[in-house]
């Protein structure tokens, strides 16, 4: 069983193509710019206990219109056993129906994927959120002090060819976007890999707390991040 916040049967923003997106309840880092803070609490009256079979029923309805499933959150890796069982069931369903389904994870990378080999055999890729590079910046944005595990995950996923994309929420002055880009480009063997960096524009919609007052970055700011990425040889897209 897992605590599920909501299921979107037709999502175009949670990975490539049209997907069923499953949002699990509960997060361990509680980003200040989170646009769905209602998913942060580990328990919430609005969330629903669901079995693998119940979630699978939603996936079944999407065949043959979907390319796969994305599990997001909250932080879905807090319920990694459930995600493993769900992905195994989805792969089984794909086999039964002859309709291929990819299984993706959208994660903040605070829990080491290396610890879940069974999950990683049925998971086709991870969309990894790099909130910040500098641990001070990271700590100002989240309730966590340490982003070393995120960096280790980035390295590990690259080596295992399980990185679907890197996501950076761009919020000028609050997020060290340039530093992330520079470090991705130089520290890791990132360039030339197929995973793109998705530069997500911060949107105040849904945000609770002081960052709710921050304006959306302008087109010029987003373009400038994009050109920095390109200058570093990093494949990037603005969304």
């Amino acid at each position: 069983m897992a605590l599920v916040r909501k299921i979107i049967s037709q999502s175009t923003v949670d990975g490539p193509g049209n997907r069923v997106a499953v949002f699990l309840q509960g997060c361990n880092i509680r980003c200040a710019y989170c646009h769905n803070p209602e998913t942060q609490a580990l328990q919430d009256a609005e969330a629903k206990e669901m079995s693998v079979e119940e979630v699978l029923a939603e996936v079944r309805k999407g065949i043959p219109f979907i390319r796969g499933i994305t599990v997001s959150g909250g932080e879905c890796m807090l319920q990694a056993e459930f995600v493993t069982a769900l992905f195994q069931a989805v792969k089984q369903l794909a086999q039964e129906t002859g309709h291929p389904l990819s299984c993706l994870i959208d994660s903040n990378g605070t829990i080491p994927f290396a610890r879940y080999p069974e999950l990683m055999t049925v998971c086709d890729g991870v969309m990894l959120d790099i909130k910040a590079w500098d641990s001070e910046v990271y700590h100002r944005l989240t309730i966590s002090k340490d982003n070393e595990t995120v960096k280790e995950n980035l390295q590990w996923l690259l080596q295992k060819d399980k990185l679907t994309e890197v996501r950076i929420v761009c919020l000028p002055e609050k997020v060290d976007v340039e530093t992330i880009l520079q470090n991705i480009a130089k520290t890791f063997d990132f360039i030339g890999k197929k995973a793109p960096v998705r530069l997500l524009r911060f949107r105040p919609h849904g945000v609770v707390g002081e960052l709710a007052q921050c304006p959306m970055p302008t087109d010029e700011q987003m373009d400038s991040y994009l050109s920095q990425a390109q200058a570093l040889g990093v494949k990037a897209e603005v969304r």
Binding site: Q10, S11, T12, G17, K61, F65
Partner: protein, 496 residues
């Protein structure tokens, strides 16, 4: 004669529109198509409708010339030699289009434009090709002032196809209507995605299920709204059965299915056969028109479209109270009974001069006209009754599209976020096509160009027309009332 006087003195009609209206008035002074009493009865009740096709048809309604052949061999009647370069090709096509007859007096089919163009652009840069294409498209839009006019692309990706899409997106015009023939095993994803992106910008092209529609004839094209017809052929006529008006004649489903429907279909089929005979035997169209005498069309490649409209309302009438076509099995199964009855009739009825269709009338989901009120296009789900889930909507379409060989479609407005992920829209199309959906058109909810029932109109032009100003496109005049009366602004917008 009062009619003719009002045409001549009208200030609302352009010069060209007057000429067409006068020709129509002259044609209607004849009565050469037999109108037996029961046929007349169904016409008067509006249950059979000839779409104002005229009382003495002197050309087939839709003509699909074999342009590839014309380009290869030239056209003697028009004193056109085979074109040798891109400029010559575009001039050749402009001249030929001008001489293709149809019900609208404008060509309804412009050919597989990408395939026609591709061999002529090898030595030209993208920019040169696009500059010439832009002029060509502007010429088409401003002289074919009726958007029941269609050019085809695909299923193969070509450089010409990509450049046509680029130009189409830049120009944002109602003419030509474009359709991409899509076959997942032939059409690369990136080309299909470019087409979808273009469509989310300018409501064009529509996407046609090539795998299923290619089975209809040896060579097919899409013309007018979304008519699936043989290339080098076409359709003599399109007459339609207005199911809700026929249903209005009885309260009994039994009587509807066993008495009214068979009788009305017999009347309509005989009427269509008489029209076909007149074109072939009295007008001698195929013995006299250069398209036929030079081999760009053949009589044996013409079909006749047996149209139907308002399946939803007819099904709802005879379904248990409150059950709706599109959401409730009780209504859908009534619709299926109606379709099975119609299919059985057309499969048994022999019509003249339709060799390519095995001498059978072919069903067509007619889109409706501006004077239809409370009648939904063809076999579509009424605006406002669409299922909550787009997947259920498309599953429903697949179930009913299987009945219709000569054209049926769904039109879906998408949320503008779709523009950022055309691959997601392609996934949905792939799914729908794999289930049997045959043709899909869509536009973004913020697009100026919208699809009315199959043809394209600009919302800004509708506003101009509604405010009493003259507009260039005939179809704006049709589209403006239909956009309002069919509540098209309320179509369910699909979020992607």
């Amino acid at each position: 004669m009062a009619d003719i006087y009002s045409i001549v003195t009208s200030q609302q009609l352009s010069y060209e529109q007057k000429v067409v209206a006068l020709a129509h008035a002259a044609e209607d002074t004849l009565s050469v198509i037999p109108m037996p009493e029961r046929t007349r009865f169904y016409f008067e009740k509006g249950a059979i409708c000839n779409l104002n096709e005229g009382n003495a048809p002197y050309r087939p309604r839709y003509i699909m010339p074999d342009y590839e052949k014309a380009v290869k061999q030239g056209v003697k009647f028009l004193e056109l030699d085979p074109p040798q370069d891109f400029d010559e090709l575009l001039t050749f096509l402009q001249v030929l289009y001008r001489h293709v007859p149809s019900i609208t007096t404008y060509p309804v089919f412009l050919g597989d434009l990408d395939k026609l163009i591709e061999p002529f652009i090898k030595d030209l840069s993208d920019e040169e090709v696009k500059r010439k294409l832009r002029n060509f498209f502007i010429y088409l839009d401003r002289t074919i002032t009726d958007s029941f006019c269609h050019a085809n692309l695909g299923p193969e990706a070509t450089r010409a196809g990509r450049l046509i899409l680029d130009v189409d997106r830049e120009l944002e015009q109602a003419v030509p209507n474009l359709t991409l023939k899509y076959d997942p095993s032939v059409t690369p994803d990136d080309f299909a995605e470019q087409a979808i992106y273009t469509s989310l910008c300018v409501a064009n092209p529509a996407i046609c299920n090539d795998v299923l529609n290619a089975r209809t004839y040896d060579r097919y094209g899409i013309s007018s709204c979304y008519n699936i017809l043989p290339i080098a052929g076409g359709s003599y006529t399109l007459t339609r059965l207005v199911l809700p008006r026929l249903a209005a004649l009885t309260e009994s489903k039994e009587e509807f299915l066993t008495k009214l429907l068979p009788e009305a279909m017999q009347c309509m089929a005989d009427y269509m056969s008489a029209r076909i005979r007149f074109i072939v035997e009295d007008v001698h169209f195929f013995e006299s028109h250069f398209l036929a005498t030079e081999g760009f069309i053949e009589r044996d490649r013409f079909v006749a479209m047996f149209g139907l409209v308002g399946l939803a309302e007819a099904a709802n009438k005879f379904a248990p109270a409150g059950k709706k076509y599109g959401s409730d099995e009780e209504a859908d199964s009534v619709a299926e009974q109606i379709m099975d009855t119609i299919t059985a009739f057309v499969n048994a009825y022999e019509c003249p001069y339709c060799a390519i269709a095995n001498h059978r009338l072919l069903l067509h989901a007619q889109v409706g006209i501006d004077t239809d009120f409370g009648i939904t296009s063809g076999i579509r789900i009424p605006v406002g009754d669409e299922p909550e889930s787009i997947y259920d909507h498309l599953r429903h379409s697949s179930r009913f599209h299987r009945y219709i060989p000569t054209g049926c479609s769904d039109i879906l407005p998408f949320d503008i976020t779709g523009k950022k992920n055309p691959a997601a829209v392609l996934d949905i199309i792939k799914g729908a096509f794999s289930l049997g959906q045959k043709y899909i058109a869509f536009y973004a909810s913020d697009s100026d160009l919208v699809r009315i029932t199959g043809y394209l109109v600009k919302r800004s032009e509708i506003e101009k027309w509604n405010s009493g100003k003259a507009v260039l496109q005939n179809t704006t005049q049709l589209g403006a009332p239909t956009y309002a009366s069919a509540h098209l602004a309320n179509r369910k917008v699909r979020g992607v």
